[in-house]
């Protein structure tokens, strides 16, 4: 029997980790991820998990220990935020390239400098080309559910890639909410036992991970990673279908909210989607045909499905919680990728970008409402007057 508990997002994630009972966790504390690892350390100390908990001296070491443990054949998890992820960066690529199915809880926080501990998505966007699968979560419930599913996605034989499960720093990581926690045994049955195919600890069959790989093979190994990414999309859907059957909650590549009969929509990641739903309801009450699309799977990027889901609209407003500095229009990564997806798949509708919430700046319903009203204006004229708007920045 599942039960409802009042938990902060990080506690929900730590609870998922307790239920998954990974063989190895290597992590270093960093705000706002800290309470995940702190709570998990309690579980270790209380003997509720069998996990070998490696308290390392830095995030670079944390990810290195994760890669080593994963190659050894362990089910491995970690958690980090912002500059912790930045310090892991070298090994983040190595984890994906060595095909280590590590699962990471990534509590999104702004990268320094200036130093800031609050939410934005500049940390995760830095690893978007690293070969990790990236999943976003609106609230603690989704962070919990996604982490459980991530284990299955990462370890799937057609995938074997690491997965990062994101949630918004402080906003959901420290926001107490009602989270349905499933029965321990059900979660354990769902994630199953990890059967590594090439464990280093199988000393009867010695093997090498991460050898020198020059111009004669390196390229082929990158091509294999492409294949694993392509396979991942279907695996994400299959795991979600099984999850729904077992636990009742529905997940896909993205969530549509009042989108099918909408004329304009906002596309936004993580917790802001929750606020945007409230705005959608208010504007619908006024008779305005507005909707929302909240991407869940960001890597691999389901370009065709997104284009299809938005193809009936008259205008799209993307909200980005990070900037791709120097990219076209100094826009955000979500906008850039979605605009390319629409154009590539023959969906020629006006699309504008609204950067918001950097360094944890609050995003309020009236600001999101302004984005919708802008989008309605764009839909009416068919023209994007300003490609990128830095929402609520002081002039």
């Amino acid at each position: 029997m599942s039960k409802f508990e009042a938990l902060a997002g990080n506690e929900a994630v730590a609870t998922a980790m307790r239920q998954i009972n990974p063989d190895v966790v290597a992590a270093y504390p960093i705000t706002p991820q800290t309470s995940t690892v702190q709570k998990f350390a309690d579980f270790v100390a209380d003997g509720l998990v069998d996990t070998e908990f490696v308290t390392v001296e830095s995030e670079h070491s944390a990810m290195s220990a994760c890669v080593g443990a994963s190659a050894a054949g362990a089910r491995v998890m970690t958690a980090t935020s912002a500059n912790g992820l930045a310090l892991m960066w070298e090994i983040v690529y190595i984890a994906a390239s060595n095909r280590c199915p590590i699962v990471m809880s990534l509590v999104n926080r702004a990268l320094s400098a200036p130093i800031n501990i609050h939410c934005d998505h500049s940390d995760v966007m830095g690893i978007r080309d690293s070969g990790w699968i990236i999943i976003f979560s609106e609230d603690g419930q989704e962070a919990y559910d996604n982490l459980i599913q991530a284990v299955r996605i990462a370890e799937h034989p057609d995938v074997l890639l690491p997965v990062a499960v994101c949630q918004d720093g402080f906003i959901t990581s420290h926001g107490m909410e009602r989270v349905e926690i499933y029965d321990d045994e059900d979660v354990k049955a769902f994630v199953g036992t990890y059967e590594p195919k090439w464990p280093l600890l199988d000393i009867e069959h010695p093997k090498t991970y991460g050898p020198l790989d020059f111009y004669d093979y390196y390229y082929e190994h990158k091509r294999q990673q492409v294949e694993a990414m392509e396979n991942a999309q279907q695996v994400v859907l299959d795991v979600a279908a099984e999850f729904k059957e077992k636990f009742g909650r529905e997940y896909g590549l993205f969530e549509k909210y009042r989108l099918d009969d909408a004329e304009v929509a906002v596309v936004v990641l993580n917790s802001t989607a929750g606020t945007a739903k409230v705005v959608v309801d208010q504007l619908r009450d006024e008779g305005l045909k507005v909707g929302l699309l909240k991407p869940r799977l960001f890597r691999p990027f389901p370009a065709q499905e997104l284009a299809q889901a938005l193809s009936h609209l008259k205008a799209v407003a993307v909200m980005d919680r990070s900037i791709s500095f120097g990219a076209m229009g100094n826009a955000g990564p979500l906008y850039l990728e979605l605009a390319a997806a629409l154009a590539t798949h023959g969906v020629h509708i006006p699309i504008a970008d609204y950067v918001y919430g950097l360094g944890g700046r609050d995003i309020l319903p009236h600001e999101i409402e302004q984005v919708y009203r802008d989008a309605l204006q764009i839909a009416a004229t068919g023209r994007v007057e300003q490609m990128v708007t830095y929402l609520s920045v002081r002039e």
Partner: protein
């Protein structure tokens, strides 16, 4: 270049069979090659101990030369040899005339520093 495609090879660059580094011929990386003057060698095995590429060939307890298919030409053997340049001398792979003379002298046991 090996013609094996990406579908055939192990993922992630893993090498699933042990002991196959010998198949990887690294001798082509060499810019300097060690030349052996057997006559003055005292068979102390210092070179065998220190060679990072297991490229010192030994038969019946005697140093007999180099495995030039794998020797990367680092010169460690020449540096640790107690008899030094009289026995092992590093010469350029593309030898100049004076080096050719040098090689012959080392090989004939006539080289003196």
């Amino acid at each position: 270049m090996n013609a094996t495609g990406w579908k055939e090879i192990p993922i992630g660059g893993m090498i699933l069979d042990a002991g196959n580094s010998v198949e990887y011929l690294t001798g082509g990386w060499r810019a300097f090659r060690p030349v052996f003057g057997e006559a003055q060698c005292i068979n102390c095995m210092q070179c065998w101990l220190f060679c990072p590429d297991s490229s010192i060939l030994v038969e019946d307890g005697k140093m007999v030369g180099f495995d030039l298919e794998h020797c990367k030409g680092c010169g460690i053997c020449a540096s640790v040899c107690p008899v030094n340049k009289k026995v092992i001398k590093q010469v350029g792979e593309v030898a100049r005339d004076d080096e050719r003379l040098c090689i012959r002298m080392v090989e004939e046991g006539k080289f003196q520093e």
